[in-house]
Subunit: 388 residues, 2 copies
Amino acid sequence: MRNVAIIGVGITKFGELWDKQLRDLFIDASLEAIKDAKVDLKDIQAIYIGNMSAGEWVEQEHIGPLMADYLGVRGIPSYRVESACASSGIAFKLAYEAVATGLYDLVLVGGVEKMTDVSTEESTHHLASAADREYEAFFGVTFPSLYALMARRHMYEYGTTREQLALVAVKNHRNGSLNPKAHFRNVINIDTVLNSPIVADPLRLFDCSPISDGASAIVIASEDIARKYSDTPIYIIGSGFATDTIALHDRSDITFLWATAEAAKKAYKMADIEPNDIDVAEVHDCFTIAEIMAYEALGFAERGEGGKLIEEGVTELDGKIPVNPSGGLKAKGHPVGATGTAQIVELTLQLRGEAGKRQVQGAEIGLAHNMGGSGSSAVVHILSRVRR
Amino acid sequence: MRNVAIIGVGITKFGELWDKQLRDLFIDASLEAIKDAKVDLKDIQAIYIGNMSAGEWVEQEHIGPLMADYLGVRGIPSYRVESACASSGIAFKLAYEAVATGLYDLVLVGGVEKMTDVSTEESTHHLASAADREYEAFFGVTFPSLYALMARRHMYEYGTTREQLALVAVKNHRNGSLNPKAHFRNVINIDTVLNSPIVADPLRLFDCSPISDGASAIVIASEDIARKYSDTPIYIIGSGFATDTIALHDRSDITFLWATAEAAKKAYKMADIEPNDIDVAEVHDCFTIAEIMAYEALGFAERGEGGKLIEEGVTELDGKIPVNPSGGLKAKGHPVGATGTAQIVELTLQLRGEAGKRQVQGAEIGLAHNMGGSGSSAVVHILSRVRR
């Protein structure tokens, strides 16, 4: 397989974007990425788009040709991929493989979601489409409650504390306050989290990522082309995707993100590195417990030790492995289909040294971890500033 | 790229399948394909699933891990692809490319849709998600009316007649009567069509494909593996995908399926054959006019001459290029996400000589044509009984 590099990135502000349609968001992010890559639109050979449920949120399917059309590149293949909140992480994997195997030389990949045109109740219902509708959602389970079950069991098995969960939110809000594209830019403290309303015990409002609108996009190219366009290509050196049971009740251990661990194993092996080599990571913190469990599944901490990792400050912006410098899903926002490529946009900026006030100093290797549902799909990518 | 072959196919009955869930349908078709291929489940390395709108029809997204889980292959990558009614045709393209480029050796690809759990009005609304929601569907346009506009203009430009449209339905019902898996097996005549209720002038009830439930699945493998499992591997020799404007009002000519012509051009070039070489075809007859326009875009007839082709009997089961021996979308049924791979299931049976009463004698090369929306995504595959 050929070396593949990221040569351009774009991202809209995340938030409640009342003045934008679904297509506007994707086109805004795409044009920013194309401008950043200094490529001509006509050189784009294919498009891969992650989107979870535009059919449910804005009653628009057939996103592939829609976006190719509005971007002004009618004719080329344009794929829409869905894997719940991992949609664009998986779109990125397909795009990467298409270039790595020589099918295309230059492609656009991104993700988009427009979630705030309906009520929170309706959005929560649509999000539950990522769980097992027949055996979970039908009986009233929502995502906060699924992650609450994981949190409660993690606390029981490993002594993880309510305060440790809160620290994830505190860190991610602090990081998000430094990110101009973030949905929330307010700094909070532990009390803010502990005094917020209970959503699904033990999870409170500030343990949950928000419902957001937004889009993100990336131009990737084969190495030889990448070097023509960019002085700072960021190389894709690892890629892994794995699945788990869709329903939580079918797992033998709900305190461990098995698909994440499997996806990470593949990505580490391909990149020929260890968790220890990661300088910066964007992980899927849809709920605070998810970030703690991600630490463990990605090998940043031993099983059950994720809570201690946040407590010891290891994942802070100035820690050994800064996690979610963008603010993560918690503060940057979580327009579900846009999240996977948004993580890769952030890592690209970090590895280029262009992340402004939230820059992780000297970062050379970054990891993106994107999950769907209660972790039943998981995709991990490893990026490098240095060609390998 | 490596040669890739189809080694197993499966398809459920199409129709109103009240006793089956979405997952049952996909698993039934998949197990049939896996049994037909004589492979072990554990040898399947990845799954590609076409599905248009399970989120809207049965409120279930995240189809990838759901199906991997229920098939008993938890862990492996499982992709869900959406491109409206072309969803599984495009899933097939991705699966083919993944094997051809060496990413995987043995994969399962299929499609599924469960459409009859809601009213016809609701299904029509969901189907309109494949059009431009903001500028077409929002103002009341539905798919029969979009194709009615194409039909009316085709009649005006080229003298295509009402009777020629009807002949497409008559042929496809006759073929469907020979297919035990078809939704409709009733033979009809021209009067049946001409006396049926108007849906969107000039299209009548019998010009429209039905709303169906169903699934189809295929096992494909790299050539060396294929020969270990199968005495009758069917080779994939051409593959093309193109997009057009999503909205009909943005096209300069609504009588021609431009994306189909572009996709076909790529597939013919790759296969190094001409339209003349096709022995049997499954084309996207969502409405009778669509089949006539497909004849022209695929090069079976000159521009404007599609009506004459059906009139002259060229596309009948015993004609020069039999089209839709399965009964097509019109009679076999149209569970939208399942249609693309269902066409390829039929061609595989035809090229193996296993199509029973609807067998096209001596067919060696087959073409599958699958479209999304009003033709804004189109994918064409060419299959061959003989290795090339």
